[in-house]
């Protein structure tokens, strides 16, 4: 039941991310639903499961969108791992710390993308990227995580017993 629920949540998040997220863009910034779902899942379940789900989400994105295989996989694996470590060691499990984790991990993800773009000689402007993309996306993800955590937590509490 847990696997089925996780599969449905991930697939639904992916479909909403690719077909709906750009319609709710604020100042041309779309939220990263998959990252928010990963953070919420890691908090609700465990760090090992979060790590594994990060791997799966990354693989899915690499398969469907990645030009260089493995980049999304590594990125989301790291997000799942960092989230799990943080909540295991020093963060309490509640909706506000979850939103804070989403905020912080979005900024880390954005920095990682910037480093990658720099290494591949892709043209970008760091100050513009940070102020117009990374920071707004982090705030957006943090706010979106608040209701998402409540929904995911209730779903797993109701349907999954382990």
């Amino acid at each position: 039941m847990g696997i089925l629920l996780t599969t449905i949540i991930v697939l639904l998040s992916y479909l909403l991310q690719t077909t709906f997220a750009f319609r709710i863009a604020i100042f041309d910034v779309t939220p990263n639903l998959l990252l928010c779902v990963l953070v919420c899942y890691t908090v609700c379940r465990s760090k090992e499961k979060g790590l594994f789900l990060g791997f799966i989400i990354g693989m899915l994105l690499d398969l469907l969108w990645g030009r260089s295989f493995g980049l999304y996989t590594i990125a989301y694996l790291c997000i799942g791992a960092l989230c799990g470590l943080a909540f295991d060691n020093f963060l309490s499990h509640n909706v506000f710390t979850c939103a804070l984790a989403s905020f912080a991990l979005t900024i880390l993800y954005g920095f990682g993308t910037q480093v990658l773009m720099f290494l591949t000689h892709t043209s970008f402007a760091f100050s513009y990227s940070f102020l117009r993309i990374i920071l707004p996306e982090a705030v957006y993800n943090g706010l979106l995580t608040l209701p998402l955590y409540i929904v995911i937590n209730n779903l797993y509490a109701k349907f999954v017993t382990d």
């Binding site: 077909t19 469907l64 970008f124 402007a125 100050s127 513009y128 117009r132």
Partner: protein
Amino acid sequence: MFRFIKQHYITVLIVAVIVLAVLAAAFAGKKEGKTNFVADAAGIVLTPLQGSFHWVFDNISGIFQYIGDIRTNAQDNEALTHRVQELESELVEFEDLRMENDRLRSLLDLKERQREYDTVGAEIIAKEPGNWFTNFTIDKGTMDGLSQSDPVINTSGLVGYIYDIGTTWAKVSTIVAPTSSTGAVLPRTGEEVVVDGIQDQKSSILCKMSYVPKDSNIMVGDTIETSGLGGMYPKGLYIGRVKEIQNSQDGLTRDVLVEPAVDFKRLREVLVIRSGGAGSEGR
């Protein structure tokens, strides 16, 4: 989880090896002009779902847009009526010019350049997750006669090219993506340039031409078309207009900002130029 792995390590090992083998086969066995079978299968399964989700959200947002537009419709109507009257009078003048053009061409025995492309209409059903790239998925694939590297346009101008294709879907890389470079020419001056996608400080949807010589005759408002060099795009596809000219930091060249003809924020449908795989030869 680690206890589980310890107890059933043989099973886990076998499953892991099978998964790795499938992945290796999937990514190593890419056929020319088409994506690997795992990605294709995933695309075939997800494309109808994405199409359905897209249709639902498109109609919902259409309803909201209709309600929002009611207020401005009357004003737009009046302005458009006035514009139509102006255009009708201009049309009469242009008709005279066209007839004179035809007459002069026939005198010089010049063949008119026919630009008829074999195109397929496609709808955008999904956009790449994230805020870094503007790539998207369309609902046509190899089954519709498309192939990798086929140019993608719309009625306004050049959109991009197909970088990955499956049976019923294709992924398009746009000219405004930060990784994109397009060979172009300025018809007015004949100068050949390269148009790169960027994320600019002023607007998120712009292109840039770098290393333009300082003595170039480029002006704001100049049109830019594809040059046809490199085999990526056919010659003459409209890219956009010069928006701003800046001196580069070294003072020896100029950086030129280009406003694409296509409104990528509102792009919903595109046309794919079927090249029969010819477009991939130059890559």
